[in-house]
């Protein structure tokens, strides 16, 4: 227990939390846009895992930059199915979403088995290095904890204001909100509802795939079947908790990442006096309370999950 008072424990936990938040941020940022447009991508887990596999395999062959791009695109390819089936053909979003998750997990497991020698459990690459900010990252505790991050983590947090700008300060953002709130009225105003929803869904696929790529290339450097371990679903929870706000996604993802890291680190040091499980719940509770109090005003997109069928 004494270790809890040590600074190094918290440094490790916080930087671990940021690392673990990275895939969640990518996935939830894209999904925030899609949900604001009224499309519920329950297949987010599928986009992530297919991005995880693709990016790792391509990175081995062609390097990290091409790998990440391929990961993002592979997520978008799966999202294209979502666009076709739900946005265009009006299939049920929940059913197709679960189908895409199952498809993604199954397909990647299958490809992995086909391409991996018998007996091997995983595929490895070198994970991306850290970027440290000269001077600042050397500040005791704060610098070590917050400012010594992987590349992908910087990229993820860097995307937050971009997505915020896209959602709040562009005409596309207006259209996205309009088709998610009131597609009939948006159509009557002259907005191409199907196009906006399709683009938003593809964006969710791109960023979902990138989130998956972040796991294999930035977090663990390994692919194994079911590596995403439900993070796509966690991302969906984050979005609801922070009520479709880009900045909220950063905070909410970090809260979950922190809880993850704390749980992992506590397991190493905890004494017999406190059950591990009890300790693990504390950050969740704290995160929940903060988020519930902090993000009350935003509201759910009115047409989330409902397909748009023009009445003509």
């Amino acid at each position: 227990m004494a270790k809890l008072a040590e600074l190094t424990f918290w440094t490790a936990t916080i930087s671990g939390g940021l690392r673990l938040a990275t895939p969640l941020i990518f996935a939830s940022l894209g999904e925030t846009i899609a949900q604001r447009a009224g499309v519920l991508n329950i297949g987010l887990e599928g986009y992530m895992i297919i991005g995880a596999l693709t990016s790792l395999y391509v990175t081995v062959e062609s390097g990290i930059a091409v790998g990440l791009l391929a990961g993002a695109l592979s997520g978008a390819v799966l999202a294209l199915l979502m666009v076709w089936l739900c946005v265009r053909l009006n299939a049920n979003q929940v059913v197709v979403g679960f189908g895409l998750t199952i498809l993604g997990v199954g397909l990647t497991g299958y490809i992995f088995r086909l391409t991996t020698p018998l007996g091997a459990e995983r595929r490895q690459v070198n994970i991306l290095g850290e970027i440290r900010i000269p001077g600042l990252s050397d500040i005791p505790f704060l610098g070590e904890a917050f400012l010594s991050n992987s590349w992908m983590t910087w990229l993820a947090f860097g995307l937050v204001p971009v997505v915020w700008w896209l959602a709040q300060r562009t005409v596309f953002g207006l259209e996205v909100r309009a088709v998610g709130e009131d597609p009939d009225a948006a159509f009557a105003r002259g907005v191409d509802v199907i196009r906006v929803r399709s683009l938003a869904t593809l964006l969710s696929g791109l960023l979902g795939g990138l989130g998956g790529a972040a796991i294999t290339t930035a977090l663990v450097g390994v692919f194994e079947p079911a590596i995403t371990a439900g993070r796509g679903f966690i991302a969906l929870i984050v979005i609801i908790m922070v009520r479709w706000s880009a900045w909220g996604v950063a905070v909410g993802s970090f809260a979950f990442g922190l809880a993850d890291a704390l749980g992992a680190n506590l397991r190493n040091i905890v004494s017999d006096s406190v059950p591990t499980e009890a300790l693990q719940t504390i950050p969740f509770l704290v995160a929940l309370i903060i988020l519930i109090i902090g993000a009350r005003r935003a509201r759910m997109p009115k047409s989330l999950g409902f397909n748009y069928v023009p009445d003509r």
Binding site: D182, A186, R189
Partner: protein
Amino acid sequence: MSTDAGPEVAFEARGVSRSFGATRALDTVDFDLRSGEIHALVGENGAGKTTLAKITAGALRPDSGTLRLFGEPYDPRRRSDGSAAGVAHVRQQLSLVRGLTVAQNIELGRPRALGGTGWRPWPRAFNARAARAEVERLAAELDLAVPADELVDDLPLAVRQQAEILISLAWGARLLILDEPSSALGPLETDALVALCLRLRDEGTPIIYISHRLPELARLADRLTVLRQGKVVTAGRDVHDADLRRIAELMIGDITLLDVERPALAPGEVRLDADGLRVAAEHGPGLRDVSLRVRAGEIVGVVGVAGNGQDELAGVLTGQLRPDAGTVCVDETDVTGSPAAAVGAGVALLPEDRTAGLAADFSLAENLIARRVADPQFARLGVRLTKAVQRHARALAERFDVRPPEPALRAGSLSGGNQQKLMAAREMERDPAVLVAAGPTKGLDPHAGRAIRDRCFEAAGRGGAVVIISADLDEVAELAQRVVVLSGGRVTDRFGVEEMTSARLGAVMAGLAWDPAGEGLE
């Protein structure tokens, strides 16, 4: 106002027809709108006014016929083509997007020709300040109090309407179509609307104004065209010379008192006594001091154009809506504002919207016991007695001629007529003290309509007080002995069915006072 070249034509439709399935919504219609005029398009519900408006705006394509806009051939394929050409259609259900502000709505879907969005690879920043400035500038020019930064949801209907007109102008509208713009406005708001329309006309924007409120048109319109059942009955008549009473009569058409076999009904004691009902409604006029007394064995028809307080009246009479003032008594028991008390006193309702009266995904049997699920006949210790329920359902369905009388069938799978019979079976299983039926035979084939009509007669014959609320005059003519006209939330006329003439009804329904001598307007 005529020049040497004659008045310039802003919009012209020639021989326009459009069908929906077997229904001919428009039948070779000719229509023209001159620059600098307000042209009223009047007619009953379903006369084809909105279809013509949609065709003008590009939201619908005609099956045949040609259009010209400001002298040019005009063939819009979609709504955005219409708005790009300068035609703005302000619909009854306004089309501002909720969840956004007025300033955001002004940018949304702006036609590309006017600096709006088209496809481009990079997202374009939304200039909130410029949009706000544009709203504020136009609001000042038009003398409207439209706030730029409030969410559309928070604005009153009249302001939302003004905002939509304002946005149309910002988008470069050269022609406005206003579809029933005053139907949900109060008198002061209507005055403001009339003033705005006159001003826009004088500043050069011609307006097609759809309405059936003749007094308002007399203040506003230059010419009017009457549609009835998809055909032009009167084309481009000068409003100031027209006899509005005659126009009202034309709107309604002929009322035929069909030879319905009416059972001889002898009214008994007063069973339904509604007194001094007042309801303030968010949209529409609500109820303004309505009293209604119906005797045992009597059928009273409440007629009027939809949206003049009918829904509120049905709600209050059945206890589902608590009036702001007034009482509803059934057999001298006060049931005001209590659905449970109303049901207990024997009030039955056939709502106009069948989806509101039936659970479409439930079986016939479940729908038939919906009012009595806890009845010991159907449940013991909270467990449903399936056999008893099924037996009951089959017997009742057969008695009311629901086809097929299969207890396990989904209610939603029945035809409209059989759904109506199913609802009637549940509501009239025990002779109701009061039956409130809204448009009971609406949309039914003759056979099913006859069956429902007979049920209404039967309810009255067994001593029930029956109220038929309907916009369909034929329906009322067939069923009712007495007629009450509801207009603007008030009862404006009462008479026996034998005095029901199209001239009288047309006048009172359109809001004109009825004066048999025919001397001028109200």
